[in-house]
């Protein structure tokens, strides 16, 4: 009997080690390969990279300035189209929701969230690119905007619900109508959470490549206006990484570094802000 007990205890300690190893392997593999990216990318990063346009193959130098600006423009379209829809829908679900509509909307929001990004690209292709006849920044931005919506809806609803009900009651008791109370008390109270939710959603779609492949396509030059194909950081990384030219592949690392740094910074920043969300309350 004693041997059995020793065996069980041994197994317990052993499994602690095994699962610990799993956790360690997971984290370290990921951290190591990202550190590799950081080192390699940093090495190939230069000021000219950030400010110049791509040069033809063979010529040294060149950069991805148009891709960086392009990503910015795409995100702008995405914010303008996706964030208002997401915010309003989140407010509806949290503050007004009727029973049948709420279920319908939550279900389709979840559905939209699960759509593979390449399929989203097909969708925007059929409703924007085909009628327009060509690729455009507008199409790419819309694709990203639609992808933003479910994320913004979920975080807006969550943070609005987290505001204690007695705050709205206080406003109502002073004679404010419901919408006024929500707009002037509840939404400001949830503002920090909602804003970070929007930022996180931006970080998420900023790295998306697939939906851009046949909506905004790509461009080796500046893209004025909104109805021309436009370069973007993720697409450039992809194109250069699979190319046979060494100088291009080096630029892919540098671009990867820039993209990763931006995405991680926004994520870390958002988490830090969210964890310090609660104001000090004495008494």
């Amino acid at each position: 009997m004693r041997y059995r007990s020793i065996w069980r205890k041994t197994v317990s300690v052993l499994m602690l080690g095994v699962t610990g190893l799993c956790a360690l392997v997971t984290v370290s593999v990921l951290v190591l390969i990202l550190a590799y990216l950081a080192v390699k990318g940093w090495h190939d990063l230069s000021w000219s990279f950030l400010t110049q346009l791509p040069k033809p193959v063979g010529e040294a130098g060149g950069g991805m300035a148009n891709a960086i600006v392009g990503s910015g423009k795409l995100l702008l379209v995405a914010v303008v189209t996706g964030v208002p829809v997401g915010l309003m829908a989140g407010i509806y679900l949290a503050e007004f929701g009727g029973r049948t509509f709420s279920f319908m909307i939550r279900y389709t929001t979840d559905l939209l969230n699960g759509v593979p990004s390449i399929v989203m690209g097909i969708f925007i292709y059929t409703i924007v690119v085909l009628p327009m006849g060509h690729f455009s920044a507008l199409a790419g931005g819309l694709a990203l905007g639609v992808m933003l919506i479910p994320i913004v809806v979920r975080s807006t609803e969550e943070f609005l619900r987290a505001v204690p009900g007695t705050l709205l009651e206080g406003a109502l008791a002073l004679g404010a109508s419901r919408w006024r109370g929500v707009a002037t008390v509840v939404i400001p109270a949830a503002f920090r959470g909602i804003a970070t939710g929007v930022l996180l959603s931006l970080a998420r779609v900023a790295g998306e490549t697939a939906p851009l492949l046949f909506t905004s396509f790509s461009n080796r030059y500046w893209s004025p206006g909104w109805s021309q194909p436009i370069a973007s950081l993720p697409v450039m990384i992809y194109t250069y990484a699979i190319s046979p030219y060494r100088s291009w592949r080096q630029q892919a690392w540098a671009a990867g570094f820039v993209l990763l740094a931006l995405v991680l910074l926004v994520n870390i920043g958002a988490r830090v802000i969210l964890s310090r969300r609660h104001s000090v309350q004495r008494g």
Binding site: P84, S177, T209
Partner: protein, 329 residues
């Protein structure tokens, strides 16, 4: 919650034309307007989703009419003679996802068990923070790392080693290129492990401590209480996290397309290059000549869409079941 919830049963409540007047009055007060405006935006989401399904359906009529269900099991992919079949891509998608799950599930669930049950809170929180951050890394970055780290690694030390020692299995036979099903599966595994780990950890933490304590109180070891009581209790949620990760893996485009070899073929060997649904769409969409070609790609997109919907739906149900009540034993 509408403000018109409470009613008075005496003369004060307006009937007939009076009700319209009351509605208009409330309209002026702004509450109904706000309700309406937010509802319209929210319904817009419903509209977009319906439109998406509709467009996918309409733009895949040619292959559906010409090939019917045969489309799903045909191996052809001949743009010249316009014979298209989905089988190689479905095969590639499923195989790479299976490899990814085989690697990611033990690592993810094991790691989650460690972080939820054994690790001290600070380590657990710290490591979880890092893991969740890694879930935010864009897939093209994983693709980059796949091409320049994973593929060379496979091409030289790993694949030959596997072939040498396990070459009697058809899985490890055939020429080695570095790119192929195994490479794609490996990169996918790296990408989905953070999801499995963080969701499983949350689900495990949600198990009421009374369960653990009950097991420990009858003399079970830490491991026994975890493996025989806590994990089964959270079984549905863990399964749900796996389904979610699978759904993610199925739809994953960039990382896969950069390392899978882009060859529409079905092969038993893991070293062989292949193709996935998302990869072929990404690569050939802009080069598709003729409507049949394009619409076949869109039809593939529809197949992928349906697969992910089913998986996601199942996953949500499972995760909901655990975090609310816990599974039946």
């Amino acid at each position: 919650m509408a403000t018109f919830a409470g009613t008075v049963t005496q003369a004060a409540r307006p009937q007939g034309p009076g009700r319209a007047r009351v509605f208009l009055k409330r309209l002026r007060s702004g509450d109904e307007v706000a309700h309406l405006i937010t509802l319209i935006f929210a319904l817009f989401i419903f509209l977009i989703t319906c439109l998406l399904v509709y467009e996918l359906y309409i733009h895949s009529t040619i292959p559906r009419q010409r090939f019917g269900w045969h489309f799903l099991v045909s191996r052809a992919w001949d743009p010249v003679f316009e014979h298209f079949g989905a089988l190689p891509f479905i095969y590639g998608t499923l195989v790479t996802s299976a490899i990814a799950l085989l690697i990611a599930v033990p690592l993810g669930v094991g790691g989650a068990i460690f972080l939820a049950e054994f690790a001290p809170t600070q380590i657990s929180d710290g490591l979880t923070f890092v893991v969740e951050l890694l879930a935010a890394v864009p897939s093209v970055i994983y693709g980059l790392l796949g091409i320049f780290i994973v593929v060379p690694l496979l091409r030289d030390p790993v694949d030959p080693f596997l072939q040498k020692h396990l070459g009697f299995l058809p899985l490890f036979q055939g020429p080695i290129y570095g790119v192929g099903f195994l490479a794609a599966g490996l990169v996918l595994a790296i990408m989905i492990v953070p999801f499995i780990l963080s969701i499983s950890r949350e689900v495990l933490l949600a198990v009421p401590s009374e369960q653990r304590e009950a097991a420990l109180a009858v003399g079970a070891t830490r491991w026994e209480s975890t493996w025989q009581v806590v994990v089964p209790y959270a079984r549905a949620g863990i399964l749900g996290s796996i389904f979610l990760a699978l759904a993610r893996a199925l739809g994953e485009t960039m990382a896969v397309t950069m390392v899978i070899g882009n060859t529409p073929q079905i092969s038993a060997s893991l070293f062989a290059p292949g193709y996935s649904i998302a990869a072929v769409i990404a690569n050939e969409f802009t080069e598709a000549t003729g409507p049949a070609y394009l619409q076949s790609l869109i039809a593939l997109g529809l197949v992928l869409f349906i697969l992910t919907i089913i998986l996601n739906g199942l996953a949500r149900l499972l995760i909901l079941a655990t975090t609310r009540k816990g599974t039946a034993h």
